[in-house]
């Protein structure tokens, strides 16, 4: 029985390590400036916990075989070792807390710093099951919006055209274009329930909470089209709440924007 259990634990451990080390399915290549630092921290952590995982399981399997009952000999009456206990507590504490501190670096860069000046502002207003995207237009200012003007057919964010700043605002649905290599400042809002803006290659996830305007910023460094998924349960077709992020070279982005500007 001891051998069998040790063998099963061994096989499971090996299988798990292969599954993670083989990367048969993995996250997509990062397209944001901060993405590679998150990936590095992930791989560092995964390596450390992978080693801890394998060591613990192998030790468990080894003890199971080595100390299975044989004959009538008694177990050792050994139940304390202050030195050992202090040693492994210290090692664990140092490793875990170091990882915790290292894990804050990217976070601090992303969330403790204000969006850099000159960043392009984009407003993302989520609703059941659509992403409304708004650009401030040439004046660089978002116009006023009013809840009572919201209309899913032709005014999804409730632009108030009595405000001059609102006239050049550009609103699109499920299509978010951004220029490559430029800081982007996204203001996240929601009209109804909580949604979450999730673009895996961008390494960015942030909830959109009704009643709050949440500011995030990032810089995409690779062009392409990527999917925006909703990562917070928002109702019936949560699993189909799909938008597209188009990362374009600056001139193409300008063209894209002009095509959508109201005449």
């Amino acid at each position: 029985m001891g051998f069998a259990l040790a063998l099963v634990i061994g096989v499971i451990t090996l299988g798990t390590v292969i599954m993670f080390a083989g990367r048969f399915w993995w996250f997509p290549e990062a397209i944001s400036e901060h993405g590679p630092s998150i990936d590095r921290q992930f791989m560092l952590t995964l390596t450390i916990i992978g080693i801890a995982f394998a060591l613990a399981q192998v030790m468990l399997a080894f003890f199971i075989v080595r100390y299975r009952r044989q004959g009538e000999e008694r177990a050792s009456y050994w139940h304390d070792s202050p030195r050992l206990e202090v040693l492994w507590t210290t090692i664990t504490a140092v490793v875990f807390l170091s990882l915790a501190v290292l894990g804050q670096r990217v976070w601090a860069k992303l969330h403790l710093n204000a969006p850099p000046p000159g960043a392009l502002q984009v407003e993302v207003t989520a609703q059941q099951f659509v992403w409304n995207i708004r650009y401030p237009g040439p004046d660089g200012k978002f116009g006023r919006t009013r809840t009572d003007l919201i209309n899913d057919v032709d005014n999804p964010v409730g632009l108030d055209l009595s405000d001059p700043a609102a006239h050049d605002d550009i609103v699109t649905v499920n299509q978010m274009a951004i220029p490559v290599n430029r800081d982007i400042h996204v203001v996240l809002r929601s009209k109804d329930v909580i949604h979450s803006f999730w673009v895996p290659p961008l390494r960015m996830k942030q909830d959109a909470v009704p009643g709050l305007a949440i500011n995030i910023h990032f810089k995409a460094v690779k062009t392409g089209q990527f999917e925006i998924a909703c990562a917070e349960l928002c109702g019936l077709t949560h699993h189909r709440m799909r938008g597209f992020l188009l990362v374009l070279p600056e001139p193409e982005f300008e063209r894209w924007l002009q095509q959508r500007a109201s005449p």
């Binding site: 259990l5 993995w26 952590t45 664990t92 019936l236």
Partner: protein, 587 residues
């Protein structure tokens, strides 16, 4: 230490004895049978979910018979899928993982292990079971009301859960019943917690110093303290949520909400407030589920390693440290919620600190096996399985607890894999270990060994087959609570993993039939059990199997030894009952 408790007579009559009983053992069994019913339902619901995820468009006419309304077309629709998500989670967390280890085993064995005749407040104890049962029935009713069960998940995030049917199916009456059920459960848990705490502190028998308590008692005691402090917060949150829904208040709903082109009348509430209240309860709840499993694992490991538990004091300290830190980390569920990024850092550091006492426990379990003489009984297999799964499920927490990595992993299948292993499966392994271990005491008969071993092998392998690939889904970015993968190009290549997991889940669930069969068959047909079949040390093994109504009869036990005196050098046997006469002074 022990107050004078009159030994009470067993009540006459079936109803007072087995239905409205105040005997902690009967109440413990009632909790266990409730948890058995709940876990059977919870597993069935999870299989429906797995079928939907593997083959989303398939029609299941036979399975539709169980839910004729929700599965009217024969398929598992997205709204039914989300109802299943909600109900599976709620049933498992509350009515299985809280009910079985604490309400069931805690009720049955805590008084016996401390040498008491019953709980401190037997009537409250009875009430706590019946209120729990009422909560369970109210929750089940949600399936049958118009609109069906709520689709807001077991976390019921506002505003989705707060604004009624307009936000989605099941969010009308179904959501109200959900809240009512949870509120009842909170009240029941408070009554239970008071009992556990008082009994541990006041009803210990002569010689049962706190330092001689079995680790199971320490675990139940700490769990009860957590329950006492956490459930009132959920109760308050639940009441506020109900008021938002039925009385037009706006605790969790901000102004200016537009749902289906309709402006809602609410003003000034905060969706994040619900998350804070919910997780202030919800995180300690994780430990409410797992601490008793840790206690049982320590207890069973020591018994079948035939060795004292390694580092008893460190184990107790670690239980307490986990309990305390468990109250300071709820924000790690909210890193990307819009909460202050500064508090996220504080929560992250505290979260990784909780890994330290958890690691201490793991080291101590391994050290307990060092130079042991392991007997591979079925409870021991499950306890060893617990250690393996606890390590696997715990380590992924080191990823999730880091703010920057949580940006990737939050609300993906990585989280689902992590918490299922650590608070679901590990806790269930604790429950299985406890069931196989204490079954002879509770029913006077042994469970079948061959069936038990077969159950262990299939479950242990099956669990890994289900949950290891699930981490990979999360790493690939798969959000949780998605009814299918076809909506996204980056998800469709992951579909084979879903199919694999579903097949593994079907086999693993099938293996649980062995357990159910073994359990009920052994109640009547199992081999008769002696008083102490495992040759264990603690007080429950000094009384007949099953114990008489007042546990110890007129003589209360007197304790002379610690709880894990195995292989004591010079002793006649390789175990020393806690009540064995004190050793003569060392010569």
């Amino acid at each position: 230490m022990r107050q004078a408790v009159a030994t009470h007579e067993a009540p006459k009559g079936f109803i007072r004895r087995y239905i409205f009983s105040t005997d902690h053992k009967v109440i413990g069994l009632q909790y266990l049978f409730l948890a058995l019913a709940a876990v059977a339902i919870g597993i069935v619901l999870s299989l429906y979910m797995r079928l939907r995820l593997a083959w989303p468009t398939e029609r299941w006419p036979l399975l539709a018979k169980l839910f004729p309304n929700a599965m009217a077309g024969g398929t598992i629709s997205p709204e039914f899928y989300l109802s299943l998500v909600t109900m599976h989670g709620t049933i498992m967390v509350f009515f299985v993982l809280t009910t079985a280890p604490l309400g069931g085993f805690g009720n049955y064995f805590l008084p016996i292990q401390v040498g008491a005749h019953d709980m401190a407040f037997p009537v409250l104890n009875m009430l706590s079971f019946w209120v729990t049962l009422a909560g369970f029935l109210v929750l089940m009713a949600a399936f049958f009301v118009s609109g069906g069960a709520p689709i807001s998940g077991w976390t019921a995030y506002a505003p989705l859960s707060a604004i009624g049917e307009i936000a989605g199916p099941g969010l009308g009456m179904g959501q109200n019943l959900w809240i009512l059920s949870i509120a009842l459960f909170c009240i029941a848990s408070l009554l239970g917690a008071l009992n556990f705490i008082t009994t541990t502190l006041n009803l210990r028998t002569k010689g049962m110093a706190m330092t001689r308590l079995p680790l199971t008692v320490w675990a139940w005691f700490t769990t009860a303290v957590l329950a006492l402090l956490a459930f009132p917060v959920l109760l308050a949150g639940g009441i506020l949520l109900l008021l938002d829904r039925v009385a037009g208040t706006s605790f969790f709903v901000p102004g200016g909400l537009i749902v289906s082109d309709q402006i809602l009348p609410h003003k000034g509430g905060s969706p994040l407030l619900w998350q804070h209240l919910f997780w202030f309860f919800g995180h300690p709840e994780v430990y409410i589920a797992i601490l008793p499993g840790m206690g049982i694992t320590s207890h069973v490991l020591s018994t079948f390693a035939r060795k004292p538990i390694f580092g008893y004091r460190a184990m107790v300290t670690a239980i307490f440290a986990i309990g305390l830190l468990g109250f300071l980390v709820w924000g790690h569920h909210m890193f990307v919620s819009g909460m202050s990024p500064y508090s996220a850092i504080a929560f992250s550091l505290l979260t990784l600190s909780i890994g330290v006492p958890s690691a201490i426990k793991t080291f101590n379990w391994l050290a307990t096996l060092y130079k042991a003489r392991i007997r591979f009984t079925v409870p021991m297999l499950f306890a060893l399985g617990f250690v393996s799964i606890f390590v696997t499920g715990g380590l992924s927490g080191i990823i999730l607890g880091q703010t920057s990595l949580d940006i990737l992993m939050h609300d993906t299948y990585f989280v689902v894999a992590h918490f299922h292993l650590i608070m679901g499966v590990a806790a269930i392994f604790g429950i299985f270990a406890g069931t196989y271990y204490w079954f002879p005491k509770m029913f006077g008969r042994m469970m079948n060994d061959t069936l038990g071993k077969l159950h262990f092998w299939l479950t242990f392998i099956g669990i890994y087959a289900i949950f290891i690939p699930m981490h990979i889904l999360g790493i690939a970015g798969h959000p949780r609570r998605y009814a299918e993968t076809v909506g996204f190009d980056f998800l469709t290549p992951l579909q084979p993993i879903h199919v694999f997991i579903t097949i593994a889940a079907l086999i693993t669930a099938g293996a649980q039939l062995l357990f159910f069969f073994n359990f009920f068959w052994s109640i009547w047909k199992g081999q008769k059990a002696e008083t102490n079949p495992w040759r264990a040390t603690t007080l429950e093994w000094t009384v007949p199997s099953p114990p008489p109504h007042d546990n110890f009869g007129p003589q209360t036990p007197v304790v002379h030894h610690g709880p894990y005196e195995y292989s004591v050098p010079g002793a006649a046997e390789d175990y020393l009952l806690q009540t064995a006469p004190p050793a003569p002074a060392k010569s």
